[in-house]
């Protein structure tokens, strides 16, 4: 990791530790559907991105051009995913192949056997996580925000948990907000919201809630100007995080109003009883 140069929107004071690495940016970038992969270095520069996901596919022997790695700056942490895997075994195979590329041991586990909604299979994900964590991978599993699955992942040795905000590519934002909130409270691992975040305010909201980071793909890749959209997401993630750390003020508690005629009723008996202390 390049520690000397610090891009804009990166902060050294509030690092996110995953797999022993202290990340200065809490915006992860997905590169699917980007098309113009030559934009990646500009995106990294504009948004301060430090983690980028890629997929593993068979080489197309009739069209050998294009190697996404050639566009990814050397100091960026690569996060290959196991997209295409329909079972735990397939995910494990893809992970091992990805590691053989020599670019690190991080892996995002996606086990999806649902072509309609692309929802992940929590059971298969947990199974793959346990196997790969034992083999020394830094495992970031992608799941539906389910507390039981998340607990299994903690026990299986995951380095973080990545619950979806909404189905992949839907850009519908934090549809699963309540469930993600529960994960943030109950699970002692970084919670990285992945999938479904459509606009920067979604990402900001996730960070204000206490998410450790956000992974954005479709919203950036399909924007008219991916570089500036990435920058906007970077600002939003940083803003949400800063707001969380600044300690938001009080919001009104339902029913607790100073002008309510019920005020003073619940504890009035203490005054009456004061003599017997």
């Amino acid at each position: 990791m390049d520690n000397s140069a610090q891009a804009p929107l990166q902060t050294a004071e509030d690092p996110l530790f995953i797999g022993g690495v202290g990340l200065k940016s809490r915006l992860f970038l997905g590169t699917g559907k980007l098309g113009r992969e030559e934009l990646i270095p500009e995106i990294v520069a504009a948004a301060g991105v430090q983690v980028i996901t890629v997929a593993l596919r068979r080489v197309d022997l009739s069209d050998k051009s294009g190697n996404v790695l050639s566009h990814i700056p050397v100091h960026v942490q690569l996060l290959p995913n196991t997209s295409g895997a329909r079972t735990a075994e397939e995910a494990v195979r893809i992970a091992r192949l990805a590691r053989a590329c020599g670019t690190g041991n991080w892996i995002k586990i996606e086990v999806i056997n649902d072509s309609v909604n692309l929802l992940p299979d929590g059971y298969g994900t947990a199974k793959a996580t346990e196997i790969l964590a034992k083999e020394g991978f830094v495992v970031l599993p992608y799941i539906n925000p389910d507390l039981y699955v998340a607990r299994d992942l903690v026990n299986a040795g995951a380095a973080a948990v990545m619950p979806l905000g909404a189905p992949i590519g839907s850009n519908r934002g934090l549809r699963t907000k309540e469930m993600i909130r529960i994960l943030i409270e109950e699970i002692d691992l970084p919670i990285i919201v992945d999938a479904g975040l459509g606009v920067p305010s979604h990402a900001c909201e996730a960070m204000e809630m206490g998410a450790a980071a956000c992974l954005i793909n479709t919203a950036i890749a399909t924007a008219s100007d991916p570089v500036h959209m990435a920058e906007a997401f970077g600002l939003a993630v940083a803003a949400g995080r800063a707001a969380l750390l600044a300690g938001p003020g009080r919001s009104l508690v339902a029913g607790a109003s100073a002008s309510s005629p019920e005020t003073g009723k619940l504890t009035a008996f203490l005054e009456a009883n004061a003599a017997s202390g």
């Binding site: 997905g30 590169t31 699917g32 559907k33 980007l34 098309g35 992969e37 996901t53 890629v54 997929a55 593993l56 596919r57 068979r58 080489v59 022997l61 050998k64 294009g66 190697n67 996404v68 790695l69 050639s70 690569l78 290959p80 995913n81 997209s83 091992r96 192949l97 990805a98 053989a100 590329c101 020599g102 670019t103 992949i168 999938a195 992974l215 793909n217 479709t218 890749a221």
Partner: protein
């Protein structure tokens, strides 16, 4: 030694190749070594072994590389 052409199954397709080692095969296919991961008959071959991995007739070879993904 004579260079025999071998029938190999590469990414699911049958091909006749003259390559002796995996390194040779990648050169024959026009692929850079650094970008590719390889599996032969279900076993991953680490990059440092490409040059010394000798291909046999009928070997099933999977060649994969990173692409954009979410």
């Amino acid at each position: 030694m004579e260079q025999k052409t071998k029938e190999l199954v590469i990414n699911g397709e049958s091909r006749l190749c003259a390559a002796h080692s995996l390194s040779d095969l990648l050169k024959e296919l026009g692929l850079g070594e650094s970008a590719v991961v390889a599996e032969i008959n279900g076993k991953i071959v680490s990059r440092q072994d490409f040059a010394v991995t000798i291909l046999a007739f009928g070997d099933k070879i999977e060649l994969a590389r990173f692409v954009g993904g979410g």
